[in-house]
Symmetry: C2
Subunit: 158 residues, 2 copies
DNA sequence: CTAACTGCAAACCTTTTGCATTGAC
DNA sequence: GTCAATGCAAAAGGTTTGCAGTTAG
């Protein structure tokens, strides 16, 4: 769901365009992030990367994620901490979307739309604050968990 | 700024109403959270609490914050991690507001308004997801930092 | 009185850092 | 060839937990 390929360049091409030195490790991490079916946290990236490169080090993963974040090529998410204190990452999407995290089953929905996009302009017009990064996460109950059994599978506080 | 007193009961009264055992430590922590002028993180709560109760323990602070969070009496914020990985807390406000975190100076604005409140209904109507906790944080540049000197005081990635 | 809470200390988990070596451009 | 990135290991930072003693209701 998070992998609607950007029309433009790949993450690696954009890294190169930003003047970042392309190492095999970075290329691998970029590819993993782009092809991920779910949101990955640092440890997931590390374990996936090790399938291809046995020697890759955790520190390299962290450093690469930090670089990508600094270049605004990926966004960092907390997903309401339903899964502990990990941070998750996604390739920065072209249109703003929000994350609906079900506190019962842990599923994450990502509705898109003009409505969310309009928030940035509204904030700027009303406060003079120029938003660059938007993180909108809602915790609650997805329709399945609400209509189905009341007993939640995996209730989390926040 | 975050202390517009709720019309209803105090945080401690609401804890009691929820069946939580009121200890001096919990009463103290609740009072600190309610009277805080800024957003507090766990360590700030701990240090403030120690001014009154020398013997209070960090673990008690963490456990009380977790309890309040579970009861939905306080909300947890990350404030875009401009200050590291700490979590900040605020007494759950009656009206939804958003947090605008300046990546240059670290200031936090909290505009309120119907617009943000309307997001919950919109999400529910369009997706069937019932939002309980909303966390909307934007990172960017506040008007001062944009109009003033271009060199930021304290630039942070995200 | 008793279940729930506290203080304590140790563990835990994720992330960061200094340094010598390796490698991209 | 040179500067930047990697692997390594150690430390940092923030949070959690098991346990024995204490206390609110």
């Amino acid at each position: 769901m998070i992998t609607q390929k950007e029309p433009g360049e790949s993450l690696m091409e954009r890294m190169r365009a930003q003047g970042v030195r392309i190492t095999p490790q970075r290329a691998l991490i970029a590819e993993l992030l782009e092809n991920a079916r779910d949101h990955l946290d640092a440890d997931s990236v590390y374990r996936l990367a090790r399938r291809t490169d046995r020697g890759i080090h955790r520190a390299t993963v962290y450093r690469t994620l930090a670089t990508l974040k600094r270049l605004r090529l990926i966004d960092e998410l907390d997903l309401m901490h339903v899964e502990g204190e990990r941070h998750f990452y996604e390739v920065r999407p072209s249109t703003l979307h929000i994350h609906l995290v079900c506190l019962s089953c842990g599923s994450v929905q990502e509705p898109e739309g003009r409505f969310w996009e309009s928030m940035k302009g509204k904030v700027f017009r009303e406060t003079g604050f120029k938003p660059e990064i938007v993180r909108l996460e809602m915790g609650g109950r997805c329709s399945k968990c609400r209509t189905g059994k009341k007993k939640a599978t995996k209730v989390r506080g926040n």
